[in-house]
Subunit: 153 residues, 2 copies
C-alpha cells in the first residue's frame, strides 16, 4: 500500500499525477453495450459512418476510468470519504480504442470541516489527457478527505 | 422501435419518464471492481463496517444506469447527437442492492442551433428515484437533439 495522503498533506495549487491506462476496443464496446448502447459506442460500421468516424468510449466510461486512475495513484484510498457532487464536467475530445489516458488532479480549494474534526473538504480539478497530452475531459469535484489522527484532538 | 422524438416535440416543463431497473449486488460489485474499487463498493464486510452500513453502488454506475434508462425510454435514440457537459451532478442517497431505479427528465430550456439547422440544444434535468420515490441523484445536462427533416429547409 502507498502511504496515506491526508487533508493536511494537500496544498492549494498542488497537482497530483496518475498511472496511464490504454483503452481497448473490447472494453469500450462491452461497457457501452451494458450502460450506454448508442451506435457510435457499440457498432464499428455505424461509428465509422457517424460524425465521430469510428468507435469512441462512452463518456461515463472515460469518467469512471479517470476517477479510478486518480484515486489509486495518490494515497487517497484510505482517506477518501466520498464525494456528493460533480460540478462542470466537460468531455472535450473523443476517446478511441488504443488511446492511453492519464489524469492530473489539481487542488483548487480546501477547508476543514466545522462540525467533524476528522475530515476536511477539498475541491479537486480533474483533467484527463490522452497520449498526445490533449485534454479529453475536465471536471471539478469537491471531495471529503480524512485528517490525521493527531489533528482530531 | 419507438417513434423518434425530435427537438420540436419537446416542450419546456415537459417531464419524460422511464422504465424501472433493479440493481443487483452482482452488478454493483462487478462494476466497482473494474471502475471504482472502494471498499464500500466491492466488499460486503467492509461496507457493513463503513458509515454506509452495507454495499452501495458506485455513483458512476448510478449515473450510467440513469442515462441508459432515460435514453432508451424516450424516443431519443435516433435524435440524440450527444452531450458535452454535465452540470451540478448530486448524489443524494445511497443506491443499494435490490433498489429499483427510474428516471424523470424535465425539459428546462431549449433553443435552436444558429449555425446548424438540423439540430437544437435542450437542457434536461435528470432526477433518479428509487422504489420509495426518494431522489437518489440529480443532474443537469445540455444535450444536442436532432430536428425534423422538414425543419432543415
Amino acid at each position: 500500500m502507498q502511504e496515506a495522503v491526508h487533508f493536511e498533506d494537500l496544498e492549494i495549487g498542488q497537482v497530483l499525477g496518475s498511472q496511464r491506462k490504454t483503452m481497448t476496443e473490447a472494453e469500450i464496446i462491452e461497457f457501452a453495450w451494458q450502460y450506454d448502447p448508442q451506435p457510435f459506442h457499440i457498432s464499428v460500421p455505424d461509428a465509422e459512418e457517424s460524425h465521430f468516424g469510428g468507435v469512441i468510449s462512452s463518456g461515463f466510461q472515460t469518467l469512471a476510468v479517470s476517477f479510478r486512475l486518480a484515486w489509486q495513484a495518490n494515497g487517497l484510498q484510505a482517506t477518501n470519504l466520498g464525494a456528493g457532487t460533480i460540478e462542470q464536467l466537460h468531455w472535450l475530445k473523443p476517446v478511441r480504442p488504443g488511446d492511453t489516458l492519464r489524469v492530473e488532479m489539481e487542488v483548487l480549494e480546501k477547508r476543514e470541516s466545522r462540525s467533524k474534526p476528522d475530515r476536511g473538504f477539498v475541491r479537486f480539478k480533474y483533467t484527463t489527457y490522452n497520449q498526445d497530452d490533449e485534454a479529453v475531459m475536465t471536471m471539478e469535484c469537491p471531495q471529503i478527505v480524512g485528517r490525521k489522527e493527531a489533528a482530531r484532538g
